[in-house]
Amino acid sequence: MAKKIALLQGNEACAHGALYAGCNFFGGYPITPSTEVAEVMSGELPKVGGKFIQMEDEIGAMASIIGASLAGSKALTATSGPGVSLKQELIGYACIAEVPCVIINVMRGGPSTGMPTGPGQSDVMQARWGTHGDHAAIALCPSSCQEIFSETVRAFNLAEKYRMPVQVLFDEIVGHMRERIVFPEPGELEVIDRTAPSVPPEQYKPFDTSFGDVPPLAAFGSDYRFHVTGLNKAEDGFPTTKAELVDAEERRQIRKVEGAEARADIELNEEYMTEDAEVVIFAYGSTARSARYAVNELREQGIKAGLFRPITLWPFPEKRVAELGEQVKAMVVAEMNLGQMVFEVERIVKNTCKLGLVTRVDGDPLTPTQIIDQVKEVL
């Protein structure tokens, strides 16, 4: 049978990706430019026996997905930067309590209300550091409607596998534009469910690290009884202030994402014409589309340009960026903010190649011409 194809908005593709991944709970609060995600989920979830709830506010929405996930659901919320600001306390809670959940941030400008209907990429550091305390972060940044579908699936997989919140960042441009989506058949994309306990309820400890850095998670309210807290905790889930336990827990929660094996599993990049490149444009999300156009144009003009597009923004692809820094004369970071990821790139390549930056924050996308001009200036 022919595959189902449709012309969908990025936001609609996101909702369908979530459903493909087995999402059965959405808790949200409408916010431009993400609302279509909620709109589709509200129509589709009841059809598959899932639950949709519009909460009283962004904070309640975040609380609802933490609760739903602990009870065994695959839980999603969708918002924009101002919503993530409000959710930050509970994002930290989901980090320390190790609760899988997916947060969609369809980025607009900021700070505060900013320009609700304009695109932006100024939440990329919020995705990394937007809650207090040391914590690991996973953030994915698709740049097409099809990729929004597949990256939303991957976000659920990573959330469930690493037992933590995962953010998917795209922006108003990709969120609202329409492209053809080819719906994958069931089984075509990998769908990962969280590891259930293999021990009987009376032996269950929610943070038993003898099972590895990501201990199995039982469904709250089932036969498995356990304690959930935002305090540092011991293996049994109850609070502890024992130095060695706190230290081990804090370090494990970073290691489970930033360890070499986990990084290899989580990191995903796309490279275009980088093999012989003398200058590489570092761009993500919708900006990478302009950058790809710029690369073609520059190649026609005889400049050996390439594109490095991180699809996983966090953890940052340090290793590959370092290799490219050794290879090229210059890197140019293009982003719809006043310079955020550029500091990560600079941290890695400051001793190996020249670095340029082109930014835009007026509500219009960075154009290929702006990127081309910056590339020429840096060279």
Binding site: I5, P33, I173, H176, M177, E179, R180, S290, Y293, E300
Partner: protein, 183 residues
Amino acid sequence: MAERYELRFSGAGGQGLITAGIILAEAASIIEGRHAVQSQSYGPEARGGASKSEVIIGEAPIDYPKATIVDACLAMTQEAADKYAVGIKKGGVLLVDSDFVKNPPQGDYKIYSLPIMRTAKVDVGREIVANVIALGAMIALTDVVKRESGEQAVLAKVPEAFKDLNKKAYSLGFDKMKEVLAG
């Protein structure tokens, strides 16, 4: 540069031009299996008098999703023409509704006019199909998709009860434009 063809549909909010853009993108990408990206005016821009929808069509995946130099533009109202009939390529085309756009912006492109809204009202009897007439005319003017692909996409979009009405509207727009082109 990679082959890309850029179209802009503009008019008053509520005239169905965003839908026309979506149908064209469906004709190109779903029916003909090529690549298309559709975007539209949004937010405060969309709440004013004029609204627009852009479609980029290509044989390869479309990178930059917004218009760079417009190959073909439609303007249904004077306000839309003044606001959006800009950035048209040298040698490109502008189609205006002859009853509503009295002063089409001049440039290094060809200007065509058709009484789109009047055709909807008089020949079809329903103003609501003006966007489908305009779509038929734009396809006839640009040959950006096959006539049949456009029709198939229109019919896939409308409820059963309105299929004949829309089929008639699409054909009228297409044929009237071809007549104009034939001189």
